[in-house]
Subunit: 229 residues, 2 copies
DNA sequence: CCAAAAGTGTTCCCTCTACACCCATGC
DNA sequence: GCATGGGTGTAGAGGGAACACTTTTGG
């Protein structure tokens, strides 16, 4: 680790598990590969880390290239370094999960020569994935299952104004189980980080729900105290 | 990511935060560097990932070279990938924390040309560290603070047979606060993974404490249910 | 007999859980 | 008026926190 660095041909890549919530469904953005290996397979979006960017920056860049958006919530969660995980050489991959407010409208799909299709896919209908991406995806789900209990990541998936039922929906999809409505509301409101708006849902054919928004200021004040779902 | 891999000169290294518990103190194994850069500074043990080993294997190898021991408990926890973290080139480092039963006797110190000293240092008396190792160390502590609440990692630091006071000691050192003795014992025993032995502490000049051991079989049965300290 | 640590129960409070009905709205 | 989800309270159980004294042992 001193003198000259003895380096062999390795590469570091980033893989991103980008989650979106839309219409009551939890989705992941997958790409369909256009080149070898695993041509025509579905895969997680990813790319090599550039020479002059940190791994965090690299993840943000990849997400930006994919969606056209900046400021996507993104967290590193694990590094996959098996010797044979890439058939063409040694590639160590740092994995990130990311979360996005889907509004039905967004979800741009800028194709490149490497990618012939980009699609939001319901996590309950995942196709087979290239490389070890199934494993990478599974681990992302595990991580967010754990982290959603401490961190307000659910709100990264929701629009700015949301109903409590939507919040509950996100929790249920991530945790993979039904929750009691009354208990859920008591708890989520007891954190004191949701602000009730003088505004109701619109365009629904039933009683309109009250809208809330996530109060980041209050959340950062509470930091230290941990949310514990 | 297809065709040929465009590779630049990067390297992947491993850094290990190896914890040990001895004599009521929580310690970390640090090395004193013998080469540039940061010659004579203290640093975390680490090395480059070899061409034919996974990152996990690499961490185990480094720990083995350092201590002569195999089967050290080790977990990956974060990857540090800032562009400028190594003054001699781009080095992305995958960090692991590890835990070891110190019995006063062990703690071998195989020096190399790169290392002029290896020492167990109380985490309350840490020197300045080379590179971004202070940051890597801090993050390791944060991680184990969180994980000790779910995972039985405390027992990795303890000898096979231990007293409840020793367990409490480890929890207090990692969490950085005093715990109530009666409540602690109730809770730790309520998990049902400690086996009381028909054996007492020896060689102490006061009432000898009952020895316990960690029952891995029971623990793995409980898996699914989570321990929650 | 003194020093040092082992070992042990109870009370209070708060949080978690289980559970079911009426309300508002659009069609 | 009916279908659809919105919104609400309570009782019981269990778990967490606070708290102090007696026991054992070696020296």
């Amino acid at each position: 680790m001193n003198e000259r660095l003895p380096i062999f041909n390795s590469a570091v890549s980033i893989d991103c598990v980008l989650f979106g919530f839309d219409n009551g469904e939890l989705k992941v953005l997958l790409i369909e590969r256009n080149g070898q290996p695993f041509k025509d397979w579905w895969a997680l979006p990813g790319n090599l880390v550039g020479e002059n960017e940190s791994v965090d920056q690299s993840a943000s860049r990849i997400l930006h290239e994919l969606t056209g958006l900046s400021n996507i919530y993104v967290e590193q969660y694990y590094t996959f370094g098996e010797v044979d995980r890439h058939p063409q050489g040694r590639v160590i991959s740092v994995a990130y999960y990311a979360m996005l407010r889907l509004s039905g409208d967004k979800a741009l799909k800028p194709l490149t020569s490497y990618v012939k299709n980009v699609q939001w896919i319901n996590i309950k209908e995942m196709p087979k994935l290239a490389f070890d991406h199934q494993n990478i995806f599974n681990k992302a789900l595990e991580k967010i299952k754990r982290r959603i209990k401490h961190l307000p990541i659910a709100f990264e998936l929701l629009p700015e104004k949301f109903t409590l039922t939507q919040v509950q929906n996100v929790y249920e999809l991530i945790l993979g189980k039904k929750l009691d409505k009354r208990n859920f509301r008591k708890k989520i409101l007891s954190f004191g980080v949701l602000k009730e708006l003088n505004e109701k849902q619109k365009g629904v054919s039933f009683r309109a729900a009250t809208l809330y928004k996530f109060d980041k200021r209050k959340y950062f004040k509470l930091f230290g105290k941990e949310i514990s779902f």
